[in-house]
């Protein structure tokens, strides 16, 4: 199956001595010589699923052999260039650890194990359990935790079944605070892809956002454009990130003090009247309240909290204002940090509002999508209970289902939920401090189904594991996102399906059929849905199978007319510098700075993030990416290393404030980290033995996050309040 021959270095060193290498292939030309005369490759369209940015790509097949994947040249996400992970997509297809058969948990002689079963048995088992749950507790007792573009199939199934308890980690573990904060300021969240007009910006402000390591394709490309255009880059990060290395101003902020910095910036802009008074009058409410509130938060005050000198705070604020509206205040993406994250996002949004960058060239552009009609289907049954019933009392302003609330409601014999479907998300590593709860939930639930492509940690909790085929082997819902240039992209099968794995749409439809929900799945093949939708917008499946991506002209302007009123969807129609809605719900109407827990003596901030070579916890077993980065490292400042007598490249274990000990992890001693912090890349330290490459490699940040700082407004799981110290490995 494997296209590449695997190299065993040790074997070579030994064998080449006297045996001589294999005689085979001696007369063969070199690969480049073969390529010189190779005929053209066949090209099939795909949409990358190595992360959720969903770049349109092209799979090249040569002589029947998968060769490579490149970006679709017309795609605004990729512009013909996939990122490091997307380029390695074939590794996900070839991964010999892939799930290729349905598995059913059985109890045999007191010990549990997975049996390989037929699809019929697996689906029949699930349908039986789901019907029992529906009969005893109502269909609302099903919760579905999903992620990614393929999630749509299971969202649909869940709604057809009669439950609205659907949630994805993209909210409470990722963008929730940002979108909530912007919603209460601008009346809408930030789009994905983020509508940051970096290619036209004169100033780009990154607060945490570590573009370069965070490799969201078009974000990185437009960031590079900004660098090329000599825009002033201001990077706020306790670590000398790649983006900090590109910045004119690197503000190595004390972790957790960003709100202080944001308030001080706002203070400077108001104190020095660096705003456009007409714009403020026309488009904002609460300016006077803000001005009164902000007065004490001077740069001098902020210096004490953040460690950033008043001078630098003033200088950077002036540059932002001078460049406005061509200033991108990046809204961030993974924003669940310290529990006051919605308020931090509010502070960001207020700054953006004051600078007048909403809808402006070089600021935030106005994204647009192709209006793709829904395939006509009967209305979903109306659930008698909703996720809101268990959520709003805890997190009053949660705009959508909160994964952690749902999970908490799966524990115990009288739990709200009795069944769970998990699709394309690896909850034990994704949700901080969730393993214990997951274990209890798995015991309490009548059914836990996991749809995955590989034997991830999550599959270990499942009653039934359903093997989905990789994104290169399946159709998924059309990509039609709000962005700069509206377009539609098609993910179509490019390669033969491996083993007994199946596309998500097939799995959902088969379950629907067994649950008597055929009327919600009136197609034989999902292509009928895609084709119907495409025909509504003047295309067709046949056309898209050759095009892969179809651009559509914009119907609305990319930028708003300067000087015209914004007409936002907030209650006031204006930028709500002061949020009455937050005040009404009992929260601070203006963002408040709170000092977070200090690190205990001998402990260090556990800082984490991305590496360009990997996505979350999904790519560590990819043989292509493994070769670029086989393990994560823990970055330690030289002073810290000296203090603990830790050698570069030795392996240590990390111990957190609650005594949790990590797997061993290799040390990188570097100046690029603050002396009070350590840093590691999220997604390593796999404990699932079926991932033979990734298993036991590096350390898992989420396991060390036993202190979760919940955002009281929307339920986000703040992950940054954890501290670690070192345990040197016994040899």
């Amino acid at each position: 199956m494997q296209r590449r021959d695997f190299l065993r270095l040790n074997a070579i060193a030994g064998a080449s001595a006297l045996l001589g290498p294999s005689l085979a292939g001696c007369s063969q030309p070199a690969e480049w010589q073969r390529l010189m005369t190779a005929g053209p490759a066949t090209i099939k369209p795909t949409v990358c699923n190595m992360c959720f940015w969903s770049c349109a790509g092209q799979v090249h097949v040569r002589d029947g052999e998968p060769w490579k994947i490149t970006g679709h040249p017309d795609d605004p996400h990729s512009m013909g260039r996939l990122c490091t992970r997307g380029t390695a997509g074939l590794g996900a297809y070839y991964d010999p650890n892939r799930l290729i058969k349905p598995l059913l948990r059985v109890n045999r002689g007191g010990s549990q194990q997975f049996d390989v079963v037929s699809w019929d048995d697996a689906l029949g088992f699930i349908a039986g359990r789901l019907e029992k749950v529906a009969k005893e507790h109502g269909p609302e007792a099903l919760a579905t935790l999903v992620h990614g573009p393929g999630a749509e199939h299971f969202v649909h199934l869940t709604k057809a079944f009669g439950s609205d308890s659907i949630s994805e980690p993209a909210f409470a573990q990722c963008r929730g605070p940002r979108d909530t904060g912007f919603y209460f300021t601008f009346g809408e969240g930030i789009a994905s892809p983020e509508q940051t007009d970096m290619e036209n910006a004169k100033c780009v402000v990154l607060i945490g956002t570590h573009l370069g390591e965070n490799l969201h394709n078009s974000q990185v490309r437009t960031f590079a454009d900004a660098i090329r255009n000599d825009a002033t880059i201001i990077t706020v990060d306790p670590r000398f990130s790649v983006a900090a290395g590109k910045a004119k101003y690197w503000l190595p902020i004390r972790p957790g003090t960003d709100i202080a910095l944001l308030l001080a910036w706002t203070n400077v802009i108001l104190a020095e009247r660096l705003y456009d008074a007409d714009y403020i009058n026309l488009n904002t409410v609460g300016f006077n309240a803000l001005a009164a509130y902000i007065a004490p938060f001077t740069p001098e005050w902020a210096y004490v909290e953040t460690g950033i000198t008043a001078d630098v705070i003033r200088q950077t604020a002036r540059i932002m204002a001078a460049s406005a509206p061509a200033t991108v205040i990046h809204p961030g993406r993974h924003t669940v940090w310290w529990g006051d994250d919605t308020q931090r996002a509010r502070a960001v949004a207020i700054l953006a509002g004051l600078l007048g960058i909403w809808g402006q060239k070089g600021g935030y552009y106005m994204p647009e999508s192709v209006a793709l009609p829904e395939f006509p289907l009967p209305a979903y049954p109306v659930p008698k209970k909703s996720w809101r019933d268990i959520t709003i009392s805890k997190f009053p302003l949660a705009g959508q289902g909160v994964t952690n609330v749902m999970l908490d409601n799966m524990v115990g014999s009288d739990a709200y939920y009795k069944a769970m479907i998990v699709y394309d998300t690896n909850l034990p590593m994704t949700m901080p401090n969730s393993r214990a709860t997951l274990t209890k939930a798995a015991q309490a639930l009548d059914l836990l189904v996991v749809v995955d492509v590989q034997p991830s940690e999550m599959t270990g909790f499942a009653d039934v594991v359903l093997p989905e085929c990789s994104y290169l082997e399946r159709y998924d819902p059309l990509r039609s996102e709000s962005e700069r240039d509206p377009c539609i992209a098609l993910r179509a099968p490019a390669l033969p399906v491996q083993g007994d794995s199946k596309p998500g749409w097939w799995i959902a439809k088969q379950l629907g059929h067994r649950l008597g929900l055929d009327k919600y799945f009136p197609w034989n093949d999902y292509t009928e849905v895609i084709d119907w939708q495409l025909k509504q917008v003047g295309s067709s499946l046949t056309e898209m199978q050759t095009l892969g991506l179809k651009p559509y002209p914009r119907k609305t302007p990319l930028y708003l007319t300067p000087g015209a009123p914004l007409n936002l969807q907030t209650p006031s129609g204006k930028i709500e510098l002061y949020s009455q809605a937050l005040a009404d719900a009992g929260f601070d109407a203006l963002p408040r700075f709170t000092r977070h827990a200090q690190r205990p003596d001998g402990f260090f901030h556990l800082n984490y993030g991305r590496a360009p070579q990997h996505s979350f916890s999904r790519t560590q077993n990819n043989p292509v990416l493994y070769q670029l980065m086989p393990e994560n490292l823990v970055w330690i400042h030289p002073d810290t290393a000296m203090q603990f007598a830790i050698d570069n490249e030795s392996y240590v274990q990390l111990v957190n404030q609650d005594g949790v000990v990590s797997n061993k992890v290799r040390v990188r001693i570097t100046e690029r980290i603050r002396p009070d912090s350590v840093w590691m890349v999220h997604g390593f330290g796999h404990t699932a033995a079926g991932l033979t490459l990734a298993y036991g490699r590096g350390a898992d940040d989420s396991a060390l996050m036993t202190r979760v700082l919940y955002d009281p407004i929307m339920g986000g799981t703040g992950m940054r309040g954890n501290f670690v110290t070192f345990r040197k490995e016994a040899a």
Binding site: D115, R666, L693
Partner: protein, 346 residues
């Protein structure tokens, strides 16, 4: 502070030591090449100067030893080729800029010369073997006999040629390495002379070991004493040359003088390979003792190999590029083999 690491993992030779360019096979080949060259020089010299009586080993027997040594050396070289079946490609072209190419062609000339000397010496040197060859069925009388005769007839011209080819062979092994500008430690004009002297010295040592007469042993003992002295001088000059060279050359010398290679260099090569035999040979200036002389010769041979091994290794320790993996490159060997059945894991 200056931190330079690879952001990707590199499993190339410079970063992963087990992929080093040349290992012991090349050291063996260089050693045996020089050794054979030394034998050819001294056998040729003995023959031309008519020392058949005083140095019977050098004249009659040593060429066979050289022939075998060179064959073993060639086998080592061959075994180091990544594509041994393509060995004939060496002889499809003489690439004038490539010492490797020159070497291949020199070997092609060396073999006939040493075979002539070997066969010419065989009847007197190894009578039993000669008889056996002559009595071989079918080929014995009609083929072997005339060949012996021919070789004996050609032995003096072949001897003259051998001196030249022997020197070429010794020097070539040094020139091959010193032509590599890319490996600073090898890039010294002194490497050729050093390897020449070392080759001659090991050749002389072989003569002592196999000496047929006390005179032969004593003669080559004195010769070797001079050669060892010359070798020490050249070595000293080489080190001085390197210490005054660029940073990379200094680094390579540091590797020998005080680094990981110091033990082998000082104790192995300088101490046992040069110093001790030098003392022993000097002590035997007036009279040679078989056991002591043989012991000294064995040390010289070991020293000869160590020199090649040390130089081959040290040259590969340094380079213009300094690549350093931050991730553990050993993990790359974890890549799995094809065709595992995922379902078998459950």
């Amino acid at each position: 502070m200056h931190e330079e690491v690879l952001a990707s993992v590199m499993a190339n030779a410079r970063v992963v030591p087990q992929l080093a360019i040349w290992g012991w096979q090349i050291a063996i080949y260089l050693f045996l090449g020089g050794f054979t060259g030394g034998i050819m020089v001294f056998s040729g010299w003995a023959l031309i100067t008519g020392r058949d009586e005083q140095t019977p080993f050098a004249v009659n027997r040593a060429p066979l030893v050289g022939f075998i040594a060179l064959s073993v050396g060639m086998t080592a070289l061959f075994s180091d080729l990544e594509r041994p079946l393509h060995v004939w490609r060496f002889y499809s072209i003489l690439h004038v800029t490539s010492p490797m190419s020159w070497g291949a062609w020199i070997l092609l000339l060396v073999f006939p010369a040493i075979i002539v000397l070997t066969l010419a010496g065989l009847p007197l040197g190894f009578p039993a073997l000669t008889r056996w060859l002559l009595n071989l069925p079918v080929v014995g009388k009609p083929l072997v006999q005339p060949v012996f005769k021919l070789c004996f007839f050609l032995r003096r011209p072949a001897a003259a040629l051998s001196i030249g080819l022997g020197i070429a062979l010794c020097i070539y092994t040094g020139i091959l390495l010193s032509s590599f500008n890319s490996r600073p430690f090898w890039h010294s004009a002194l490497l050729g002379p050093l390897f020449l002297v070392s080759g001659l010295s090991t050749g002389a040592a072989m003569m002592i070991l196999g000496a047929g007469t006390a005179h032969e042993r004593h003669l080559f003992g004195r010769i070797d004493l001079g050669l060892i002295l010359a070798e020490l001088t050249l070595l000293g000059l080489l080190l001085i040359d390197m210490l005054n060279g660029n940073a990379m050359q200094q680094g390579a010398v540091a590797y020998l003088l005080g680094g990981d290679g110091a033990m082998l260099f000082w104790t192995g090569f300088v101490g046992f390979g040069l110093g001790l035999p030098l003392l022993l040979e000097a002590a035997m200036w007036r009279r040679s003792f078989m056991v002591v002389a043989s012991f000294a010769s064995v040390l010289v041979l070991v020293g000869g190999f160590l020199l090649r091994d040390i130089v081959v290794t040290a040259g590969q320790q340094t380079s213009w590029t300094q690549l350093h993996n931050q991730f553990n490159p050993d993990l790359i060997s974890n890549l799995r083999n094809d065709g595992e059945d995922p379902s078998s894991r459950f």
